[in-house]
């Protein structure tokens, strides 16, 4: 069975994650309920003719995938696998709005074409002229992990040696207003919005496009090996620790073998109990990391978490801004990521230095 290595990363987020090493220019925004991403210079990556019709998520996905491939020094891939919770929702809104405003007449093709969830993967393939396996997972907050799991299985079965995977989600006005009505996003008058020790419901939302070039060979520029991924739709907080122990045991590991745990805290008092229970019990003696205060919550925010994990392993340091506790390790070899959203879509991801 071949192994899976992260050999290149590309991250477009609310932070300056392009042309930086590892969050050295990170800015903490605790006053807004939405964290929009820092727009890259699209024209450096996409031709002006192609760019004019592309949705925001498509443009960001293309840039992030190009960065990941460039870093891994690969020009072709055997598979493109993306994950997205909401797809190119901005164009979906545009298309639906046109239907309503024009009483189902005068429908133009562009926003319809761009609104499908698999547009990002398709446009990347078009740009690369890649006719290989191309799949998009739309599985809520395990969309990215589903893509990662698929890629790992492809590697293990030797059906692919180089796979491009990514998580993409974008902010769109109408959907944001619905999320605010539903209480998914924090209320406007509750700032500062702190993710740790929050006492309010909802989360600060964000957007991003985070891609990884995976290969079955270790190279000079390898970040980490992806050891295992597990996805669980429903999980009670009482059994979380046992599930993690079982997951680690399946990989011949114990809690004490984990050099850092990356938790998907988003500041929602209703559901951060999942993270608190790990933080205060099983991983009380482990360096703990959080990241959604920097990128916001979105269905594929855990891809930003994996980017953080890969960077920790590569740089062997945890920036202060990411630390939940003050514990440190002399070496960060094995890292566990745990994420859930609203008590469902739980994922465990294990990565290791190699």
């Amino acid at each position: 069975m071949r192994k899976t290595y992260i050999n290149g990363v590309g991250c477009i987020s609310a932070q300056k994650t392009v042309d930086t090493v590892f969050l050295e220019e990170a800015e903490l925004n605790e006053s807004d309920t939405i964290l929009p991403l820092k727009i890259p210079v699209y024209k450096d990556f996409i031709s002006p003719v192609a760019i004019r019709r592309m949705a925001k998520g498509v443009k960001n996905g293309i840039v992030a995938s190009a960065l990941a491939m460039k870093e891994a020094k690969v020009t072709t891939v055997d598979a493109i696998i993306t994950g997205t919770g909401m797809g190119c929702i901005e164009d979906s809104e545009k298309f639906l709005k046109t239907i309503l405003e024009n009483k189902e007449e005068f429908l133009t093709p562009t926003s319809f074409i761009q609104s499908t969830h698999n547009t990002v993967g398709a446009q990347i393939a078009l740009g690369l002229q890649c006719k290989a396996y191309n799949l998009t997972y739309v599985n809520g907050s395990v969309s990215f992990e589903s893509a990662l799991l698929d890629a790992k299985m492809k590697m293990e079965e030797e059906e692919a040696s180089t796979v491009l995977i990514g998580g993409i989600d974008e902010i769109a006005d109408y959907t944001t207003s619905l999320f605010k009505l539903a209480g998914f996003i924090k209320k406007e008058n509750q700032s500062p919005y702190r993710v740790l020790n929050s006492t309010t419901k909802g989360a600060v939302h964000g957007e991003g496009a985070i891609f990884f070039a995976l290969e079955n060979e270790k190279k000079e520029n390898t970040y980490a090996e992806v050891l295992d991924i597990e996805i669980l739709n429903k999980l009670k907080v009482e059994v979380l620790e046992d599930k993690i122990k079982t997951f680690l045991n399946a990989n011949s590991l114990q809690i004490s073998d984990i050099d850092a745990v990356i938790l998907g805290y988003n500041g929602d008092v209703e559901y951060d109990t999942y993270y608190n229970t790990l933080s205060e019990n099983a991983f009380v003696n482990t360096p703990q990391v959080y990241y959604k205060h920097l990128c916001g919550e979105f269905n594929t925010a855990s891809a930003f978490g994996l980017w953080v994990g890969a960077k920790i392993i590569k740089t062997q340091q945890i920036p202060e801004i990411l630390k939940v506790n003050t514990l440190e390790n002399t070496e960060y070899k094995t890292i566990l990521l745990y994420n859930q959203y609203k008590g469902i879509d739980h994922s465990f991801t294990l990565i290791s230095r190699c």
Binding site: I51, R52, L107, T108, I113
Partner: protein, 85 residues
């Protein structure tokens, strides 16, 4: 007619998201497809919808589009003669 041609240029830039194109970059007789503005078949569909929505012109024969959408000049002339709104 001059006002209509100006309006058409503005609409084309907006509808087709021609971000880097200014009004003065489009000459009345420049070809819209191919060598000129470089529009493609999806743009043609957008223009057909625009004619219907904004000027009440329904193109029945798609072949007509080739002649009508040749340039701003040809579009303007066609709209002037056939508009219902």
């Amino acid at each position: 007619m001059e006002a209509l041609k100006q309006e058409l240029k503005e609409k084309i830039i907006a509808v087709l998201n021609l971000e880097d194109i200014n009004l003065e970059d489009i000459n009345d007789n420049d070809p819209l497809f191919g060598d000129g503005l470089g529009l493609d078949s999806i743009d043609a569909l957008e223009l057909i919808v625009m004619l219907d929505k904004d000027y009440g012109i329904k193109l029945v024969d798609p072949k007509e589009g080739k002649v009508i959408f040749q340039s701003i000049e040809t579009m303007g002339n066609y709209i002037k003669e056939n508009r219902t709104k």
